[in-house]
């Protein structure tokens, strides 16, 4: 199973037999890996119909839906892990989605592309154009990434909202990089957060 580096980190740190909700699960690659290697009870939410069909074809339970609107009906703490990989920056209201994520999951994995990576900085600084990089390949008008963020933005957000961090991993070209310089050197960040427990949105 050849998982994307951020997904591989998530897969490595999910406990066997856990209940997992993968929000923005794509065609279900991570879910299938978790099911097959760790006996995980995985459920998914995915916007794209073709991806849902592919995931259902893998025997997975995936519903076609939108992280911005379809999380409210999941009971609090109904999953051991809620996973939001490479999806946060595409949400209309990322803060609300994070609230739901931390309500539904006892723990939550969040991964996103770091907009403060040096290549992005250089592209904007010297090119004066919205960066088009390996991890952010779309142009300004066709990108699904409507809420770009940086590692330091996310750290500040977690601090402001009192969210406990249980782990953080930073990736550059598929390899781990240091936490200290992550805001400049990391292309990708993966955070493991502690759920907000009894908080109930509805």
């Amino acid at each position: 199973m050849n998982l994307r580096p951020d997904l591989a980190i998530i897969a490595d740190h999910v406990a066997p037999g856990a209940r997992v909700l993968d929000i923005g699960c794509g065609d279900g690659l991570l879910m299938a890996a978790l099911r097959d290697t760790k006996g995980v009870d995985a459920r998914g939410l995915e916007l794209d119909a073709a991806n849902v069909a592919a995931a259902v074809g893998r025997g997975l339970s995936v519903i076609q839906g939108d992280a911005d609107t379809d999380l409210a009906d999941y009971p609090a703490q109904s999953f051991d892990y809620a996973i939001l990989s490479q999806t946060l920056q595409t949400c209309r209201a990322p803060d609300k989605v994070l609230d739901e994520l931390l309500r539904i999951g006892r723990r939550a994995f969040v991964s996103f592309p770091n907009f403060a990576h040096w290549r992005v900085r250089l592209s904007l600084l010297w090119g004066g154009r919205m960066p088009v990089t390996r991890l952010l390949p779309e142009r300004w008008y066709d990108t699904p990434n409507i809420h770009h963020l940086t590692v330091d933005d996310f750290r500040a957000y977690l601090k402001e909202h009192g969210v406990a961090v249980e782990g953080a991993w930073f990736l550059s070209r598929g390899r781990k990089t240091t936490s200290a310089a992550a805001n400049v050197l990391a292309e990708h960040a993966v955070f493991l957060l502690r759920g907000t427990g009894t908080y109930n949105a509805g």
Binding site: R43, A49, V52, A55, V56, G57, V62, I63, Y74
Partner: protein, 371 residues
């Protein structure tokens, strides 16, 4: 194929009953006409129940004896199909209240020796499901690998999971809803009033004479519009005239769409009983799965360990996507494993019966999953 007379096409059984009904009474005996396809495994673990829609029947994958038309879901059910009869044992029974061999208003009431007509008890979707459970007992099928249905068949599939949670391993619910909306009830009421306004209806007592064909045809015409999308009707007929160059300035079927609807109405009365139409539409109107479970739909699925697969179609305005989503949300709240997709089709509600490759792909995947 086994020699067992319970299995095969064109089966009919009279079960002693009594079948206790939601309306308070009981029905005895209970006649059920059904078909089976494929071979029941020695452990009876490969049984799939197909539930049919309002005016469909047990002939899901074999020709209709009256019209000669092929089965109504041959693309879904058969050898090598998504519901593969090479490996699955498939049962499809005519629903209670219908007119293709199962107990309904046209059945002879043993107490009087005459057709029940309006003396037939008013039934519910859950009553239909309980009758199917009696049939499965007769076939020695304790658990269903899956229960599958579209439209009213989807309502039965939901009711199965809620009523017999220990007997259902998976449910496929296509273009359906967990309750009838005011608009759904309204359209059905138009149909019933059309039947009952026909003088031949005669309080339901017409079996010795002329049936209320005109009324039933109008009911079917009105209902048929709800099965199609506005865009689909426009594409198929537009404002084109029927076999003429100019408007007649009269009330013939000038427009192709009028001619089409009249044909739909007339061909329906040849194969369907008007009183059955009243009883089954009533059962659908009474359907409200949340109401049966303290007003919370999620409660209907609390005891179920079944996997669910829901599919809606974007142009279906009879049971629109939001109805399927409401079910999905309730299943999420109940913690049930559920898959859901909204498929794109120009055909409206009828899309589930027409060529729908994406639907077959999803059902194939779902039926293969979890094994």
């Amino acid at each position: 194929m086994s020699d067992d007379q319970r299995f095969g096409p064109g089966r009919h059984v009279v079960l002693p009953g009594p079948l206790r009904l939601d309306g308070g009474g009981a029905l005895a005996p209970v006649e059920i006409a059904y078909e089976t396809y494929g071979t029941l495994a020695p452990d009876a673990g490969n049984a799939v129940l197909i539930c049919h829609a309002l005016t469909m029947d047990q002939y899901v994958a074999s020709p209709h004896p009256r019209t000669g038309k092929p089965g109504w879901w041959t693309a879904m059910v058969g050898p090598g199909r998504p519901i593969d009869t090479d490996r699955l044992f498939v049962v499809c029974a005519n629903v209670l209240g219908s007119c293709m061999g199962s107990s309904g208003p046209a059945t002879i009431d043993p107490a009087t020796g005459r057709e029940y007509a309006m003396a037939f008890p008013v039934i519910t979707i859950r009553d239909m499901v309980r009758a199917q459970a009696m049939l499965l007992d007769h076939l020695c099928v304790a658990r269903l690998k899956a229960v599958v249905g579209g439209s009213m068949g989807g309502m039965q599939a939901l009711s199965w999971a809620a009523t017999f949670p220990d007997r259902v391993e998976a449910a496929v619910v296509i273009a359906s809803a967990a309750r009838h909306s005011a608009q759904n009830i309204a359209f059905h009421e138009v149909g019933r009033q059309a039947v009952m306004a026909d003088p031949h209806w005669n309080g339901g007592d017409y079996y010795q004479g002329e049936p209320p064909a005109a009324g039933l045809a109008v009911a079917r015409m009105a209902a048929h519009i709800t099965y199609l999308s506005e865009a689909g009707l426009t594409e198929k007929f537009g404002r084109r005239l029927q076999a003429r160059d100019a408007k007649s300035f009269g009330f013939d079927a000038d427009f192709q769409v009028e001619s089409y609807l009249r044909h739909q109405g007339l061909s329906f009365v040849d194969r369907f009983d008007a009183n059955s139409y009243l009883y089954i539409t009533r059962a659908m109107d009474y359907f409200d799965l949340a109401e049966e479970h303290g007003g919370r739909l999620a409660n209907a699925f609390r005891g179920s360990s079944a996997r669910f697969c829901l599919v809606s179609f974007d142009t279906d305005w009879l049971y629109p996507t939001r109805e399927s989503r409401a079910i999905v949300h309730a299943l999420n709240a109940a913690g049930a494993p559920v898959s859901f997709m909204e498929l794109s089709s120009p055909y409206g509600h009828d899309a589930f019966l027409l060529d729908a490759p994406e639907l077959y792909r999803v059902v194939t995947g779902f039926m293969g999953g979890g094994t």
